[in-house]
Every structure is written in structure tokens, then in C-alpha cells.
Amino acid sequence: MLNEIEVDVAVIGGGPAGLAAAISAKENGAEKVLLIERGSRLGGILNQCIHDGFGLVLFNKSLTGPEYAEIFIEKLLKLKIDYMLNSMVLELTPSKKLYVANRNGYHLVKAKAVVLAMGCRERTRGAIKIAGSRPSGVYTAGLAQNFINLQNLMIGRTAVILGSGDVGLIMARRLTLEGVKIQAVVEIMPFPYGLRRNVVQCLEDYNIPLHLSHTVTEILGRSRVEAVKIAKVDENLKPIPGTEKIIQCDTVLLSVGLIPENELSRQAGVEIDPKTQGPVVNSMLQTSIKGIFACGNVLHVNDLVDYVTVEAQKAGMWAAKYALNELPEPDRKEIEITLGENVRTVVPQKIVPGLDTSLFFRVYKPGKNKTLNIIVDGKNIIQKKCPSITPSEMLKADLKGEYTLNAEKIHVEVCE
């Protein structure tokens, strides 16, 4: 009854990561590549990102989301890579079987290799436990972006934005341009959580007030949002009694973080890093299940789509090699990276000895004039000056394979 399809590489997700991975898998010799996308068009969340700033690293141009996506969609079509739209993977097994539903039927895709590229979702009101009533007018920033940019629907007249993540900042500007009054952007941390350029271009340029070390403590209104209560928070991020203020608004936008969407990965038994909330991967972006690779925001939430593309190209390449039985079998065990001072996450978490690896880090605390040290077997082999660091921006370092060929231990830290 199930419609069976056999492929070399199945890519789950048709956003920037999935597109780049599928293209790369094909270019690296995989014959049958199948990209599976749950939405009605390729490009993923880029389709609703009509602002510019995409492609600065890769193309030295400031493209909009759809323009950036178009480059890869065209290439995919040119390479005649198979793809399914409006198709949802309902189950992924450790033996790389995918159960896929769409209007044409229920399909069993048997893949030699799988690339996970499902992206991420937004944290919700429930996840951060905002107290108060439950009226309409509370949206995650990305949902609001979908309504405004794709469905031509205006979501309110006066808004408070909780969280200064990039989507929230961009929506502050977008809503302002459409005549919505942004009463405030409220950030619980003592520093903004989005890219510096977005703070400048989306808030400062429009005189939108940013309240750092503040949070929304209550939502008011029975049918539709009528106001929010905000308060200052102490160093433990707990609201300080007596500092509450009421701000009138009919809309609350939440931009309180993104969570890699790893339900399928978990189902397949892929090991998840509790800090990144994405799979634990090695230098080949291979997860704990052989033949399942991960890239993009499902692996770790990225700041720039350009990085996603580069990462996905690698994942696609290694997946193709795996499918073709060409994946080099390292003669030594992978080296687990240990995290030192002020390093919160690293991706990949494990190094394949001898393989060139790009490492991405996030820090706990912001700071100025710090140094990123990568210490291999006690020897500090990379010292990278970081004039300004913040938890919202990833740090990148390239670790050459020659340093890890015979290494036992790799340690990273960010210090004075």
C-alpha cells in the first residue's frame, strides 16, 4: 500500500540548509537525491524574510530572503534534483526509512543517507511562562512576519515586543514601516540579543525604545490584548517588585529564542546536545547514527544564512560520500572537544582526527578584547583576538586537520 521510493540521499527540509545540502550531494556524486519540504514552496522561512542582508559573506551582496533562496532553487532545478512539496516526514527510523505524507499518498522513502535540515521553531509564551490572561493578539515574531509579508494581514496597531532576537528586531522595523506604533522592545538580558547591525538599523534608526534588563511579567486583556506589565529584573533575571510599569498595546510579539526542531532526530535515536538542542555531530556533520547528517538551524541556531549554506554544503557532500560508500573510515576514535571559560556551545562537538574542521562557538557572557584559544594536547595552537563578543553572535575558527591527526584532547576557552 505504501508507495516505496529508494534514494541515495534524502534531505529533510527545503530551506537554505536543505537546498544547499541537496545541491552539494548531487554535485558530489549522489545520483538519486530527494528533497522533502513540508511547505508549499522551496526556500523555507527565507520566503517571509523580505528584508535584505542575506548573502553578504557568500556573494558580497545584500539580498532579500527570497532572492537568496532563488539562487539555490534555480541551481536545484538545473541539476534536476527531485523534490516534494507539501510533504511531511511523519517518521524517521534509525535504519533511514522515512514515512512521508502528501496529497499523492503515503510514501516510504528508503535512503542510504539522510540529511536533517528541518530548521528551528520559535519559543512560545508557554515555554517562558508569561503570566496573565490569554487574549488574542499574542504572536511569535515569525508568525507575525508570515501574516504581514505572505498573507497581507495586519496584526495590530500598537505593539510591545518581548525579546531582542533578530526576528523581533526586524519585525520592530517592519511594523513601524507599516504604521504600527512599537511602544517598546523589552529584553531580559543586560545586552541586546540580536546582531549589532539589526539593533542599529531596526531600533536606533527609528527611535524605538529598548528596555534592557526588563521583562514582560503579565499580559492584560480579556478578548484582545489591552496592555502588558513590564518589570526590571535583578542579576538572576527575577523581576524586581515595585518596578512594574503598564504599557498599553493591542499586540504582543514574542522573539524569545529559537529551538532546533529535532523531533524526527530524536525519533531516529540521534543523540542531542542539551545546550545547542541540536544533534551531536562530528567534523563530517554526521550524527550519532551512521548515515544521518545534520546542518543548518536544526543543528544549531545560526546568525547568518551564509554560514548555514556553507555548513549544509559539507553535510550534503559527506552524505553523498556515505551513500556511495566512500566515507573515509578514520583509524582513530573521534576527539571530543571540552569547553572551558565562557564557552557555552561548540559545533561540531567531535573532531575526526586529521580532518579540516570549521568550529562554531557561542559564549555565555558578552565582553571586549578577549581571546579565543584552541588548545590541543596542552598546546595553544589557535589564538584568535575577539574585539567584541556577545552570546548572540557565533565565533568561528578553522582547525586544520594536521593539528588533530594524532591529538588526544581539544579544549576551547575565551579569556582575557
Partner: protein
């Protein structure tokens, strides 16, 4: 001449809807008046969903009697109405030697109330049954079960509607006039006429009663907050886990309950409040819930909640009086006006026996004739997520709309959304779709599927943007269009 109903039920909570369904067995013209935009707009959607066994209720009380009766028929009831039911069993955990005495008291009360299967188990057995739970002993009730409180209420109402009962939503009763042989019930600028009125208005039952002069009733709203934890953690417990009831005895205290859909439910708190519509959650409430739940299940994460909500208990005893009264079901002064006052927990479990009791009262006043074509079966809606791979394949082949997934967290298809939209009660709100089809209910809380649902409402179902509501009138989602749509590109 305006239609004259035989019976008007005020309030479409679980009790009002159960009564409506029982009444639909007879040749009667019945109407249900509800101030919300859907059934279960109040406490009936915001509770633990527990089918109680009956050991928590005072010996000889109506609560105990209806609860025990309800527990016995519940599985059959759910199978008739296509509602999920799971007999998980319940453990009331003693965490100190002092608590053990309380377990014995509950055990005794249970025996007297006719509860079957109760036993007191030791620490070792607790650990064996629930490895994550900390306790020195427990009262084990194998017949305690869980259901979905809102799906049951919806199913009661749908089955009643299938059998001819009329539902009027957004119809808040503002006045009642006693005429010679009937009542004139005013609501939202309109009125409804009925020979007999059943007041099942929950938190507002005292206000409704006072409209025709019963001023002796008083409802004391008592808010209970809940936190729902991601279903990723559902393996932590297999049964309901309760503390021994707190000293003030008016409530059962914070407990940990599996739900039929998977997530774990924590709560509720108990706060007597003034405003009976204030279903806000509070920071202290949420923190208290997590703290108390973790005392008994330390491995429960404090960070992985999906949502928090609250419901208001309709108590008929004040905090000062101990907060614990029995159900009041009476028609003392005007036999054609039946008041149900203080129908709080175990109202869900007790709903059908309670409804049968009300019908019996009615039968003494109005001659009831059984309908020959009454159909007690309300088929369960198809849920793609619950089917095997082969069943899914077959279903999608027959109806391709089952292959189009709208909600990625709960795997709900477009066909299920459309079925929910076409419900017999005529409810068209987002919240109505949510409770019927489980869209917007998963861990992303509608972050993705809301966009798809809005697109379906606009494009497939031709709902204008200003007709899209979360729930009640006033809970609009959109304030306008971003751009006028008739602007054409000029070549």
C-alpha cells in the same frame, strides 16, 4: 410567535452538555444557552481531566454517590461518544509517617463510598510502580482514569445536537421573567422561551438563580492554575500522582497527571478570588506548581513547559467555611426551575449520573417519552496521528486531504481541520478548531500551523479577515490588510 422550548439549559459546560444529551433521549424541544462562543468555555476545559474513583468525597454526599456511579460507567460512556479514556490508576503519595494516617482515612472513606480495588502500598511498591516518585507509602486506586475534559464536553454537545438539541452561543443570560406557564430568558438583545429551566451556569449559577429570586445561593470562585509539560517527559510517570490532600481539605492539591494526548499536566493551585472570569495565570502560581510537583517527582524538568492556564472552581462554600460543600441540586421554590449550585470536582466524573438525576426531577413535572430514533453513538473523529502506516496509506488514498499535514507537532491533516470546522455545533473560532482537531496545541503552540490555518480559513473557507476570531467576539486576530488587494501592477 416565538418558539417555546420545553427545556432551556443555561450553561454549556460538561454538566449542561451532559444534561442536554440525557434530555435528547426524549421527545422534547431542548435549547442550551451559553455565554461563551463554544461549549466548555469555563472550568470544563481547564481541569485535570481525571475520572475520579470517589474516595476523596465525604461519605454519604451527592459528590461521592455520583462520582462512584460515574466512574463505573465512564469507559462505556467514552466509547459511545468517541472520547479518549485511559484507566491509568492513581497513587496518593505519603511523604512522611504523618501522611500515612491520611491515607488510611482516604481508604476508609473510599470503602464506605463503595470504591472498588483500593489498597495501601509500601515504599517498595511505590518505587516499583513509579520509579521516579518519592514516597514512604501510597493509596493505590486502580480504577482512577483520565479522559479529555473538553473532548468529552464537545462530544456530549455534539451527540445532543445530533439528537435535536439546539445550542445558542454568545448568549449571556441577562434576565429571566417568570410567565404563567413558561420562562422568558433574555440574552444578547434576544430572548428564549421555555417551560422549564435548568441552571447549570457553573461560576454564575448563583447570579442566574437570583434572576428569579433565589437569593440564598452564593458561589465562591476558586482559581486553579495549571502547567502543561512537553510530552517528551511523559515517560516519567504512568499513573496519576497526588500528594495527600492539603490540610485545609477544600481541594486536592497540586498533582501530576498524565493526559490522554501525552503531555504531563501539573496543578492546580487554589486561590479564592473575587472576579469569576479572571482566568489569568500568575508567576507565584506557576512557580508553586512546579516546586510542589518536583517534591514528589524530582526528575521532572522545571523548564520544559508548553503552556499554562487556569480554571475557576464553582465552590458553594467560602474559604472561611472550609471551602467544601456538597452539590446542591434543587427546585424548592419553583419546581420548574432547577438549580445546580457548586458543581465542582468531581463534576466531570459525575456528569452523566448527575444529568440522569436532573432528568428524573424533570420527569416528575413533564411527561417524558423516549425517542425511538435516539442515537447514543457519536463517532470519534479520525486522527491520522493515531493510525498505523498501512491505515494512513489507505486513508490518504481514499481522501488526499488526509495527506496534507497542517500541524507539524501533532500531525494533524487538513481534512481533520475541515472536519473540525464543519462541526454540528457551528463553532468557527480558532479555539474551537484547536480543541476539536488538536491544531495549535502541540509544543510550538501554533507557531507554524496558525499561519496555515489562517490561510485555509481565508482561501478555502472564504472567511473575511475580520471574521477570524480566537474565541469570543472581540478576540479578533487582524486589524486590516497590509495593502489594498485591488491594486494591480501597471505595465
Amino acid at each position: 410567535m416565538t418558539e417555546l422550548f420545553n427545556i432551556a439549559v443555561i450553561g454549556a459546560g460538561v454538566v449542561g452538555c451532559a444534561i442536554a444529551r440525557e434530555l435528547s433521549r426524549y421527545n422534547l424541544k431542548t435549547v442550551v444557552l451559553e455565554k461563551g462562543s463554544d461549549v466548555c468555555s469555563g472550568a470544563s476545559k481547564a481541569n485535570s481531566g481525571v475520572v475520579h474513583a470517589g474516595f476523596n468525597n465525604a461519605v454519604g454526599s451527592l459528590k461521592a454517590k455520583f462520582c462512584v456511579q460515574g466512574n463505573e460507567i465512564f469507559e462505556h460512556l467514552c466509547s459511545e461518544l468517541g472520547v479518549p479514556y485511559k484507566r491509568t490508576g492513581k497513587l496518593v503519595i505519603a511523604q512522611s509517617e504523618g501522611d500515612v494516617k491520611e491515607l488510611e482515612n482516604l481508604f476508609e472513606a473510599g470503602l464506605k463510598n463503595g470504591v472498588k480495588g483500593l489498597s495501601i502500598v509500601d515504599r517498595k511498591t511505590v518505587k516499583m510502580m513509579e520509579p521516579g516518585v518519592e514516597g514512604v507509602a501510597a493509596l493505590y486506586s486502580p480504577n482512577s482514569a483520565i479522559t479529555s475534559p473538553y473532548l468529552l464536553t464537545i462530544a456530549y454537545a455534539e451527540n445532543a445536537a445530533m439528537n435535536g438539541v439546539k445550542f445558542k452561543f454568545n448568549s449571556e443570560v441577562t434576565g429571566i421573567e417568570r410567565k404563567k406557564s413558561y420562562f422568558k430568558i433574555y440574552h444578547d438583545g434576544d430572548y428564549t422561551q421555555a417551560e422549564l429551566v435548568v441552571n447549570a451556569a457553573g461560576c454564575y449559577a448563583d447570579k442566574i438563580a437570583s434572576m428569579i429570586g433565589y437569593t440564598e445561593y452564593k458561589i465562591y470562585p476558586c482559581r486553579g492554575e495549571y502547567v502543561l509539560v512537553d510530552k517528551r517527559w511523559s515517560h516519567l510517570i504512568t499513573r496519576m500522582i497526588y500528594h495527600v490532600p492539603p490540610k485545609d481539605k477544600s481541594v486536592l492539591g497540586v498533582h501530576i497527571t498524565p493526559t490522554v494526548e501525552g503531555p504531563i499536566l501539573l496543578g492546580p493551585t487554589a486561590d479564592f478570588i473575587e472576579d469569576r472570569d479572571d482566568t489569568s495565570t500568575t508567576m507565584p502560581g506557576i512557580n508553586q506548581i512546579i516546586e510542589e510537583a518536583r517534591k514528589i517527582l524530582p526528575s521532572l524538568p522545571s523548564h520544559d513547559s508548553i503552556t499554562a492556564f487556569s480554571g475557576i472552581r464553582a465552590k458553594n462554600k467560602s474559604k472561611e467555611e472550609g471551602g467544601l460543600g456538597d452539590y446542591i441540586i434543587e427546585n424548592r421554590r419553583d419546581s420548574y426551575f432547577i438549580n445546580l449550585i457548586g458543581i465542582e470536582s468531581p463534576g466531570l466524573t459525575a456528569s452523566t449520573p448527575l444529568a440522569k438525576h436532573v432528568v428524573e426531577m424533570i420527569s416528575e413535572l413533564i411527561k417524558l417519552n423516549l425517542k425511538e430514533d435516539f442515537n447514543p453513538i457519536r463517532p470519534a473523529p479520525i486522527r491520522l496521528a493515531e493510525l498505523s502506516h498501512e491505515q494512513r496509506a489507505e486513508l490518504i488514498k481514499k481522501e488526499p486531504l488526509y495527506g496534507e499535514i497542517v500541524c507539524r507537532c501533532e500531525h494533524v491533516s487538513k481534512k481533520e481541520v475541515l472536519d473540525a470546522y464543519n462541526n454540528i455545533l457551528g463553532v468557527k473560532t480558532l479555539s474551537g478548531l484547536k480543541y476539536r482537531a488538536r491544531v495549535m496545541m502541540g509544543r510550538c503552540q501554533g507557531g507554524f500551523c496558525t499561519a496555515k490555518i489562517i490561510s485555509i480559513l481565508q482561501n478555502d473557507l472564504k472567511t473575511p479577515y475580520n471574521g477570524i476570531l480566537l474565541k469570543n467576539p472581540g478576540s479578533y486576530l487582524f486589524t486590516g490588510k497590509v495593502r489594498e488587494e485591488d491594486e494591480k501592477d501597471v505595465k
